[in-house]
């Protein structure tokens, strides 16, 4: 076992600990950025002027009327920027644009004595536009040749040969919608010059170092002039990885120009209409299977909706192109990925980061192919799992591949899959108007940033003479429980109780040059850095203790606040050793550092070993669909998931449950609708508030929800044997989509392949039911005409009902089975 993964006796990690701020949360005492702002009574409020065009040149911007509004102090425009007028990382995101690139694009910002003054001031700013042609949908962008970034291909074997020799070939198309993060706390920043005349920015960000960098280049200041703190976020989910930084820069610019604190908090509609989202993908696929139901080849294309600027889309696309295999061995592969440029908000990180779209693609293949192949979907999926030793299309051997079938069979058993399948079949036979469906899907998700240099982290650990410990690390807390885990790691490494450790807010003046808390790597990277710092201090303290106890330093043990020596009768407290160390002039603080070893990636050939390991899991979901309306309920969800040796089981279970429900929201409910008409509000987001953009509520919570952490899960080479957990469970929600497909299939003839739009809203499900029923009708008529004809595997395209003005939003698939000549 590596020293990183080995746990001492009595570890504090592994205990089910409540979130370190839970008491603050329930009593309303835990502070968030805008709570801190309320006590800054001298703060000015910033309010944006937003574009009312999808794409236009600004020909005039007049602020005089705004300045005449009582309480308006200043209007920030491009002319005010002392440094670079850019909010992003690629230089393609002007902070104060002269060409608006999407409906809602922030043009300039009004500073007022109150929110009311700033709002009225913004309404009084006059903007004149010269309208330019706009591209809203992916299809429009493809037609217009509007692309950005670099297209990529993942290739292995001879795909054309594989498909032409396959016994069965299917193809399909799917357009998956984007997703709004809808963190409950909208973007917020507070900037002011502190008593030391340093620019201080409290920002709700997953990446304080990037906030610092963006503020520095906008203001033309060195980074050491700026401190950014991220106390805690009311949710991030990737939406605060890049998106807060331009906003922080606006607040910082305002503070610089007025000498007053500036408070900026987007309201919900501003947040939804200004900031980035999960990209929608348009995907087409052709997949070949042999007679045993084994995948022999996959040819596909993914076109990602990149929005107005590149943001993180290149990396999102990379992850999609590294996850379309999910848990399956696909001998021959050719998958193309590209990014279109559209006049929409930027498209950015969101839990899973392209992974979900990739996984959706391959699960769509199985969901469609199973009925046509006449193989139970669960069995079809299992047959195609990676075997140990097999490598992904990009050439990384799938470490611990044997875990997937183990998790699978464990889940099948614990959720009584077979028995319930039979019960459901009986239920469906006896109910004409409601049908149930049960589906199980796997996840294999690569952990590490695809870009290797991000995989590093730092920490600062301080031990005081009284034995109390203060830790700092580069990761941010957005609810995922990172700080709780870090406290547990420090307590374990130093051998003190959890109560002896306090964690101080994440700040750029404590740990510099940090990576975003993202890609699920927060605990892996920062935990290793915290442990590294603690190890340094503990080793120094061991030397001090060895002198006091009269034993060899290697024989000193730290556990639960006591310091003992092997064979020594005396026992010291951690505080006593700390005091002794101070008196002996031994350093009681340390900077910790960690970099993940053994990663490499060649983006030209699309090969390498970008991931330090894979997280595995599986979920079984049962739904019930009302055939009259398409409305459905999730009756039961069972999950077995691999988090390694859990650092904090209650927190890990919370990540799994929350990830699942968020994924279910993306796949079934959350519906971003843009105005694609040619009317005056073309490009406007129609679902731009909480009343029109619906995220899961209690009614989407599975009625029964059983989550089990996979045992036998030690992860060699990772912090205390644990694995990352933030993102992978989101994709377990594919099982709800597949369960809906099964239930809808119950309304159709046997073998009816169900095409389901994404998100599978009640309306989308209804149209799929309608199509299935029509197929039943067609089948009955057909078999009445030609007795004995089987309907298995016939195309559904012809069976689409004609009475609906709006057919299912999917193009009917080409599902004909091409028999191998």
């Amino acid at each position: 076992m590596s020293t990183l993964s080995k746990r001492p006796v009595n570890p504090v990690v592994g205990a089910s600990e409540p979130h370190e701020s839970a008491v603050g949360h329930v009593t309303g005492r835990a502070l968030y950025t805008d709570d801190i702002s309320t006590v800054r009574r001298d703060a000015l409020v910033a309010w944006p002027v937003q574009s009312t065009q999808a794409h236009a040149l600004i020909t005039a911007l007049r602020t005089d009327r705004a300045l005449a509004v009582p309480g308006v102090v200043r209007v920030l425009t491009a002319d005010d920027v002392p440094g670079h007028n850019d909010a992003g990382i690629w230089g393609d995101e002007p902070l104060f644009p002269t060409e608006v690139m999407y409906y809602g694009h922030a043009i300039c910002w009004v500073l007022g004595e109150s929110t009311e003054a700033a709002r009225l001031g913004a309404a009084a700013v006059e903007v004149e536009y010269e309208t330019l042609p706009s591209v809203i949908t992916v299809s429009e962008a493809i037609a217009a040749g509007s692309f950005q970034g670099t297209p990529r291909v993942s290739r292995r074997g001879d795909i054309d040969a594989a498909l032409s020799q396959a016994a069965h070939v299917f193809s399909g198309e799917i357009e998956t919608s984007g997703q709004e993060h809808f963190y409950l706390e909208t973007h917020a920043s507070l900037a002011y010059y502190d008593e030391g005349d340093q620019l201080y920015v409290q920002c709700s960000t997953q990446n304080p170092s990037e906030a610092q960098a963006v503020v520095a280049h906008v203001l033309g200041l060195p980074r050491n002039a700026i401190t950014v703190q991220s106390l805690r976020m009311g949710g991030g989910f990737g939406g605060k990885e890049t998106q807060p930084h331009g906003l922080a820069a606006v607040a910082a610019l305002g503070a610089t120009l007025t000498g007053r604190p500036v408070r900026l908090r987007l309201n919900r509609t501003q947040d939804i209409t200004i900031t980035g989202k999960r990209p929608g993908f348009q995907m087409t696929w052709t997949a070949g299977f042999n007679d045993d139901g084994l995948l022999v080849g996959l040819k596909a294309s993914m076109t990602a909706d990149g929005g107005w600027c590149l943001d993180l889309m290149q990396a999102v696309l990379s992850r999609a192109l590294c996850h379309f295999d999910n848990a399956y061995w696909i001998p021959a592969v050719e998958v193309h990925g590209r990014i279109v440029k559209t006049h929409k908000t930027s498209q950015t990180a969101f839990r899973g980061f392209g992974g979900p779209q990739g996984v959706l693609l391959i699960e769509d293949v199985f969901g469609k192919a199973a009925p046509a192949l006449g193989i139970d979907p669960a069995e079809l999926r299992r047959r195609n799992f990676y075997a140990p030793g097999q490598a992904t299309p990009y050439g990384q051997v799938v470490k611990d591949a044997e875990r997937m079938p183990k998790i699978w069979s464990k889940l099948l058993e614990s959720c009584a899959f077979e028995r319930r399948q039979n019960e459901i079949a009986a239920f469906n036979d006896s109910h004409a108007h409601v049908k149930r469906g049960l589906a199980i899907t796997p996840i294999k998700f690569g952990i590490s940033f695809n870009a290797s240099f991000f995989n590093q982290a730092g920490a600062l650990v301080l031990v005081y003479q009284d034995g109390s410990v203060l830790i700092n690390h580069g990761g941010t807390e957005m609810g995922q429980g990172l700080h709780t885990k870090m406290i547990q790691v420090a307590a374990t490494a130093l051998g003190v109780p959890r109560s002896a450790v306090r964690l101080a807010p994440t700040r750029t003046d404590k740990v510099p040059n940090t990576s975003a808390t993202a890609a699920s790597t927060g605990a892996d990277l920062n935990g290793a850095a915290v442990k590294n710092a603690c190890d340094q201090i503990r080793e120094r303290m061991a030397v001090v203790a060895s002198g006091l106890l009269g034993v060899n330093p290697a024989d000193v043990r730290f556990s639960d606040g006591a310091v003992t020596g092997l064979g020594a009768a005396e026992q010291l407290s951690f505080a006593e050793v700390a005091t002794a160390a101070y008196l002996q002039r031994v350093q009681l603080s340390a900077a910790g550092y960690y970099r993940t070893e053994g990663l490499h990636w060649d983006q030209e050939s699309w090969t390498g070993s970008p991931f330090s390991y894979f997280a595995f899991g599986a979920a079984a979901t049962e739904v019930e669909v009302d055939g009259f309306t398409g409305a459905y309920r999730t009756r039961r969800v069972d999950i077995v998931h691999d988090v390694g040796d859990s650092l904090s089981p209650m927190i890990d279970v919370g990540q799994i449950e929350g990830g699942y429900v968020q994924g279910a929201g993306w796949l079934t409910l959350e519906d971003l609708r843009w105005d694609t008409s040619n009317g005056p509000t073309r490009g406007r987001l129609l679902t731009q508030s909480a009343s029109t953009y619906k995220i899961p509520s209690f009614s989407e919570m599975p009625e029964e929800f059983n989550v089990t952490l996979f045992d036998e899960a030690h992860e060699e080479g990772s912090i205390y044997g644990s694995k990352a957990v933030g993102e992978p469970p989101l994709m377990l929600a594919l099982s709800v989509r597949e369960a809906l497909r099964q239930a809808v299939g119950g309304f159709g003839p046997a073998g009816h392949p169900v095409t389901l739009a994404s998100p599978a809203t009640p309306e989308a499900v209804f149209w799929a039911v309608d199509e299935a029923r029509a197929a039943t009708q067609a089948a009955t008529t057909q078999s009445a005409m030609t007795p004995g004809t089987t309907t298995q595997g016939t195309s559904t395209a012809a069976a689409v009902t004609t009475d609906s003005e709006q057919p299912p939003s999917l193009t009917p698939e080409r599902s004909s089975i091409l028999a191998n000549p």
Partner: protein, 524 residues
């Protein structure tokens, strides 16, 4: 949205103030009791929301997640009349209520429920079981959960309820239907709720229930952004309306608050009418006790326009099964705790949920003004998109529902999300079948035209025919052609239309399975 700094303004308080307790001297100044301490409103603006006012007091536990009543991050507890002389703690969206509307009232926030050293039972259950991740939603959840914790009779066996979302401790999950959490997936929050015991008898908030809720207080707040008046009587309200034709009437503010927050609506004068005793009665009128000439018939149930949906739900106690079915489908508990029947009809919205139900029930609207009362059948009340026959000087006083009720009733709400969503289509049915023949049929529709509609053609297709599959098929085709459904982000026109034609077969199937609210055995 937050009105944080505002110039000092003159504020007067002209109305006669009922003195209900010994605080008569301090009552002269508008104020709200927050976590047991009276806080003066001072120079507050008349549009300042309770949320922003509380946060400015330093009570930042309540958060703004949406400012439109959707997320519940702003939820706080308000002491309200329990209908039996005591107090019920009710949860409300503080983002929608102007603080002026709470003058004289008592509010408890998460900070007041408990402190880190002395957690409230709700807080300790939530803190211990992973109910919070980012924590932004948590204080709001704690308040919603605490009001249900204190609901009298909660842990006694529930009467038959239209949904099965109840814990073994009687906790009704719908109490949390207006609170959103993006992190947890809700399971731990449900478990925390279902694990709650009964309040300790010594619990101050439990004891508070035994005393009457604060009486309504007349308020007249004048601030630079406008004037807020809570008149002391109905006549005073009607008089003010007559004098100020541009004035806006507000009740629960669940609709108006959204206008203020999201669309920047500001009023010179608002008149709050929700506390007027004259608008807060619920009674069954039989025979000659009819106060005015009425087309409703002699016997009806009268619902005061100023009662909240939650109050009507509680006090009707299942007497009108169609409404019993509608209540849990209407918004969330948080919204229903403030939203009034008068407000739902007052908006004139074509997608409100009470109009289809009330149309099916054959309801009449009573309009009151200084000139007297008049009764209008609900199907004549709506005149166009958000327009009605109500004159600016008139208030909706009450709604009358004629008795006896039809025995077969159903409410079908089609929406994307099951809890707390606006209807794409809503249908309400009230039918009677005697000896297999349909003898009564009233059907109300919402979301398929510029106004709520009665489905007269469908009713005609049903009346006098045999209640069987053929009739249902025929009538469904008629129903499918009613109205002029449109396409929007909630649903396509095609889906709306097809939902109309699916509704009768669904009702028929439910009736066959005995799953509708049938007052008597239906012979099919």
């Amino acid at each position: 949205m937050n009105e944080h700094r505002r110039p000092v303004s003159p504020r007067t308080n002209e109305s006669a103030i009922p003195n209900t307790d010994d605080e008569s001297t301090s009552r002269a100044l508008p104020g709200v009791t927050v976590n047991g301490q009276r806080q003066l409103l001072g120079d507050v603006a008349s549009h300042t929301t309770a949320l922003n006012w509380l946060r400015d007091l330093g009570l930042t536990g309540a958060k703004e997640g949406c400012a439109e009543g959707e997320c519940g991050a702003c939820a706080v507890m308000v002491a309200s009349p329990d209908g039996a002389g005591g107090t019920a703690w009710t949860s409300v969206n503080s983002c929608l209520v102007p603080i002026a509307a709470l003058d004289g009232q008592e509010v408890v926030t998460a900070e007041g429920l408990g402190s880190p050293d002395d957690l409230h039972p709700v807080q300790s259950k939530m803190a211990g079981n992973g109910s919070s991740q980012c924590g932004y939603c948590t204080a709001g959840f704690a308040c919603s959960m605490a009001t249900e914790f204190y609901r009298r009779g909660r842990s006694e066996p529930e009467p038959e309820s239209p949904c099965d979302e109840h814990g073994p401790n009687g906790f009704d999950l719908h109490a949390l239907s207006g609170n959103l959490c993006r992190c947890t997936g809700y399971r731990p929050i449900r478990d925390a709720a279902y694990a709650l015991g009964d309040p300790d008898p010594a619990d101050a908030l439990a004891q508070r229930r035994d005393r009457p809720a604060p009486a309504p207080v007349a308020t007249d707040l004048r601030a630079p952004d406008g004037r807020f008046v809570r008149p002391g009587s109905l006549d005073e309200a009607l008089g003010l309306m007559a004098e100020n034709p541009g004035a806006t009437v507000i009740a629960g503010c669940t609709d108006w608050g959204v206008e203020v927050n999201l669309r920047g609506r500001r009023e010179e004068l608002v008149i709050a009418i929700d506390q007027l005793a004259e608008l807060r009665t619920l009674r069954t009128v039989t025979g000659t006790s009819t106060p005015t000439e009425t087309t409703t018939g002699n016997t009806f149930i009268e619902i005061g326009a100023g009662l909240t949906l939650s109050e009507v739900e509680r006090d009707l106690d299942g007497q009108i099964p169609l409404l019993t079915e509608m209540f849990p489908e209407f918004a969330s508990r948080l919204i229903r705790n403030r939203a009034t029947f008068g407000g739902n009809l007052g908006t004139g919205s074509p997608i409100g949920d009470t109009p289809p139900a009330l149309l099916a029930l054959g309801a009449q609207v009573v309009l009151v003004s200084l000139d007297g009362d008049r009764e209008v059948p609900l199907d004549e009340y709506f005149t166009g998109y958000r327009t009605t026959v109500r004159k600016p000087t008139e208030l909706i006083g009450s709604i009358r529902i004629p008795l006896p009720l039809a025995p077969i009733t159903a409410f079908h709400k089609i929406s994307k999300r099951r809890f707390d969503d606006i209807s794409s289509v809503a249908l309400a049915f009230a039918l009677q079948v005697d000896d297999g023949i349909v003898t009564r049929a009233t059907i109300g529709l919402g979301g398929v035209a510029a106004t709520p509609l009665r489905a007269y053609a469908t009713e005609d297709a049903l009346l006098g025919t045999r209640w069987d599959e053929q009739t249902v098929a025929h009538a469904s085709a008629v129903l499918g052609a009613e109205g002029t459904p449109m396409e929007d982000h909630r649903a396509s026109a095609a889906y709306r239309r097809i939902m109309l034609s699916q509704a009768l077969p669904k009702l028929f199937a439910q009736a066959a399975e005995g799953r509708v609210d049938a007052g008597e055995e239906v012979s099919l």
